[in-house]
């Protein structure tokens, strides 16, 4: 049955889907900053800051792309990074290990923590969300047990080089590490059994099982990779600040997951975009940098991150919809019975709120200082 239909929108977009979303938003930021604050935003030193900020998340986002592609999630990476950083720091400071051994040790121990996560999920059958959330508490707890309130600071040059060094006339070392991680990740995704099976497992777990793929084993591999990269991030973080403590890296999980999802990798599995994750990491970093450059109040960073995540996920969902509605469809959508009911609910809530506001202001006794 030789059929050669003209290429559809989906097919033409698909290879580029990954970067369309973040690219559009990156372009929007660039355009806006080009008008608002070009001199300060577009200079080499600021590009350096953006890349340095993003670099820390690159290895993490690479590994998280595999985890999420398999329909998994890992909520323990911040704690793993803090704990491995602390272990590495102790190895250097307390036990006098050579720095390069301590670095490799950090990555290896991160891998072991990932292995534990993977076993908890595949052997004990604890759902990944709960399993890694619980392990997050465990790792964070151990970090606190080990380091208490200690700040471990001032490390050999190798560590600070990894965290913030720079090849003369070229990119910062952490950025090179990050980009290298993505290149390797892209190769693994496309050219290794692990990459292939990660997509298959996320796409159709039963089919993968039926085809004879050792689903659980490849899931464990993904968590081991994730853990090792979290270990690497711990090393990079320690080097970046030249200090590590138990409470470090508090918001790693959500930041990395957001970057991966913004990059087009689907939380429902099977859809992996390494390039998209890279763009996602850059986007978040550029956005926060732009907000700071514009001197916008801190709390807006949180608002902006949330909006960006929602927009991009909604955008991908729209792109992947098989039959897209036109403008007429949009109008029609407002008139389906379900949506009318939802609009009524919204109306009732809004009206109720307004009533409460009115009553509140009628009975108002003026402002009362809190406390």
């Amino acid at each position: 049955m030789p059929v050669s239909a003209p290429k559809g929108l989906q097919e033409r977009l698909d290879p580029y889907l990954a970067i369309i979303g973040p690219m559009v938003m990156i372009l929007m930021i660039l355009a806006f900053m080009g008008v608002a604050e070009p001199a300060r935003y577009f200079r080499l030193s600021n590009l350096n800051i953006i890349l340095l900020e993003a670099a820390l998340y690159m290895p993490l986002a690479m590994a998280m792309t595999f985890v999420i592609t398999q329909r998994g999630i890992d909520l323990s990476i911040g704690s793993v990074a803090a704990l491995t950083g602390i272990i590495m720091a102790f190895a250097i400071k307390e036990f006098g290990f050579p720095a390069w051994i301590a670095v490799l040790l950090g990555i290896a121990i991160g891998g072991i923590f990932g292995l534990i996560n993977g076993l908890v999920i595949t052997k004990f059958r604890v759902p990944d969300l709960i399993g890694t959330l619980a392990m997050d508490l465990v790792y964070r707890g151990f970090a606190l047990v080990l380091a208490k309130g200690l700040v471990l600071a001032r490390f050999p040059d190798l560590i600070t080089d990894i965290g913030r060094g720079r090849l003369p006339g070229f990119l910062p070392i952490p950025v090179i590490i990050g980009i290298l991680a993505f290149l390797i990740g892209a190769f693994i995704l496309r050219r290794s059994w692990f990459g292939r099976y990660s997509i298959a497992i996320g796409s159709n777990p039963e089919a993968a099982e039926m085809t004879g793929i050792a689903v659980d084993r490849y899931k464990v591999y993904a968590y081991v990779l994730m853990g090792a990269m979290a270990g690497l991030a711990g090393v990079m973080l320690t080097g970046k600040l030249n200090a590590i403590q138990a409470t470090s890296a508090p918001y790693f999980n959500l930041h990395v997951i957001a970057a991966v999802v913004v990059g087009g990798t689907s939380l429902f599995g099977g859809r992996a975009y390494m390039l998209g994750s890279f763009a996602g990491v850059l986007l978040l970093s550029m956005m926060i940098n732009a907000l700071v450059t514009l001197r916008i109040e801190f709390f807006w960073q949180s608002v902006a991150s949330g909006v960006v995540i929602i927009l991009s996920v909604a955008f991908y969902t729209w792109l992947q919809k098989k039959d897209r509605d036109g403008a007429k469809g949009l109008l029609n959508a407002f008139t389906t019975p379900d949506n009318i009911k939802l609009m009524k609910l919204g109306g009732v809530l809004a009206a109720g709120t307004v009533v409460l506001l009115v009553i509140g202001s009628l009975f108002s006794t003026g402002s009362v200082p809190s406390g």
Partner: protein
Amino acid sequence: MPAATPIISMRGISKRFGGVTALQEVDLDVCPGEVLAIVGDNGAGKSTLIKILTGVYQPTEGAIEMDGQALSMNSHSEAIELGIDAVYQTLALADHLDPAANMFLGSELTKSFLGFRYLDNGRMRVEAERVLLERLGVRLRSMDVPTESLSGGQRQAVAIARAVYHSDLRVLVMDEPTAALGPQETARTLKLIEVLREEGLAIVLISHSLDDVFAISDRIQVMRRGRRVDVVHTRQTSRQEVLGLIVGAAEAA
């Protein structure tokens, strides 16, 4: 008519799950170059029977012979090694992978560089295209899109191609291959089955659609309540008769 010697003979197969008897002393014969249809109501034991044939289940009692040799299979992969494979109703495809990746899923082609082995996507693509065209006469809309964007019939072709790629495939079990397809796609899939029959494969087809069964099969095995009710030659019977056998209105002649 196909060669008279069956490639597979199942004799006196029974299967009990706890206290429930799913199959009771069922026989099955299928010859090379033949399409054997298995029909019956839900719960008649069709699925259990083919799962035993493909090594997924092991029979409680009974024997399976292949070319006159006794077989014992402990897993589906052993069945595949012996040349028995299946294409399931719920296609075992990873929808986000491209057709070639799906076709080679679990048995990827590789190349190596400095002793480091990695997937040879180019060769898999070429091979997949070749198998689809040469064995099934199918040219996909595109080899580079995720499988999910293909039509139902083309997806079916990918699933079948995966089974027939093993050059030693001799018995192919197809579980409701047309259930989710439109009329055109159904016709194309039946054509695929014909192609495979011409190549000398023994095909066991499970279907609810008597249209398909009468269009393609050589013999029809009717199951009811875990028993084989009868086997009839498709050309020598009628829908009426087969329907009667399925619901139990008519007993074997």
